[in-house]
């Protein structure tokens, strides 16, 4: 059986802007999608606490019913891509994801998969957004692996239909990044 060496990752660098813009931007589902619409926003900072103004962040999640690709699988519904601004901030508009069980049937809390690319990152960082106040967080197997750092993955309520979630690439409050 052929076994090929995988192509190594390289940094996205600082010069990707126009070519990497997608029509949906940071709107993961159209307005018509059922579910509770929320905004998630925050800031990306480096190890010095400085804003990371040239990151590209991708988001992937199921719809409110727990379906990937939405009601019509094989689409890009539930996917979003944003570029951070000069102030390092990003913002997405989405619906709260439905819960999807783990491969072994255990409960997973609702979450959004997040992939981060930036100058200075030689490969992508992978993390997840969970939601404050969600009872099933306590039973989530990935959160359980994070120990005392688990709160870095939990978006905080920030008004009626908004959550705040920051990404700290390095330092005292460093966000948990996963390998899977």
């Amino acid at each position: 059986m052929a076994e090929l060496l995988i192509t190594p990752s390289q940094t996205i660098g600082p010069f990707f802007k126009e070519g990497m813009e997608l029509p949906q931007g940071g709107t993961l589902f159209p307005d018509s999608a059922p579910g509770r619409r929320v905004r998630v926003s925050g800031v990306v900072t480096d190890g010095q606490g400085k804003a990371v103004s040239d990151a590209l962040i991708e988001f992937w999640q199921p719809d409110a019913a727990g379906r990937f690709g939405g009601p019509r699988p094989g689409s890009s519904a539930g996917f979003g891509r944003v570029l951070t601004g000069k102030d390092g901030r990003y913002s997405i508009s989405t619906i709260l994801p439905g819960a999807v069980p783990a491969a072994d049937g255990k409960t997973q809390a609702p979450h959004i998969l997040v992939v981060i690319f930036a100058r200075g990152l030689l490969r992508q960082l992978v993390t997840r957004i969970y939601f404050e106040g969600e009872a099933s967080n306590a039973a989530d197997p990935a959160l359980a692996r994070c120990g005392a750092r688990a709160p870095t993955l939990v978006a905080k309520r920030d008004g009626a239909d908004a959550y705040a979630w920051n990404i700290s690439l390095q330092g005292t409050n460093e966000t948990v990044f996963f390998e899977a």
Binding site: L4, T11, D46, V100, A180
Partner: protein, 230 residues
Amino acid sequence: MKLRKIPVGAHPNLLHPPYASTNERAPRQPAVAIEPAAAELSGPRFDRTLLFPNHDDMTRQTGNMPLGERIIVAGRVLDENGDPLPDTLVELWQCNASGRYHHEADQHDAPLDPNFRGFGRVMTDAKGRYRFTTVKPGAYPWRNHPNAWRPAHIHFSVFGQTMLERLITQMYFPGDPLLGYDPIFNSVPTDRARERMIAHFDLEETRPEFALGYHFDIVLRGPEATPENR
């Protein structure tokens, strides 16, 4: 589905001090290992409505030819088992022949080319093949260390079937004397793995009286081979 583990040394380490920007941006904590779940093992599907006009020809985006050496780049997107990945989105961007990006942050004192924007999108066909036409990108200086120059490269962003396969990389050109000095290229730890990022000159892809051809295959993580799925 279970994906093969990423072999040690296949990708760069996040912290690679010769590439200065990693010092403030690479996480210091080790990644936390988790079992991939539904979100990691699925991914968006894109269709051809995403493709720009002349999406596969960066020399025909304004109506006038850009300056520089026209080239064709073609190859396949495969997984580790050698299986082709059809209908996969490949996004491309690069600087112009003078070594300048069409981007506000690029302040290199080399001319912009009004006829070259330098980005494209292609989708692989049923056999995992892609092809595009462009001009050969120039080398350019950067401020990583004294007299630092990036070797000529084209950026590739590839989706694959699942979010775990997601890859952004750079394609380099054979025989480039700058490769040995480049901390980004050399962040990949082994010769064998670095060679995977270098295109090959390809006479088959070369079009007479038109452009040199280069071949560049992209290999993504693939499913673990088991008796059931092989």
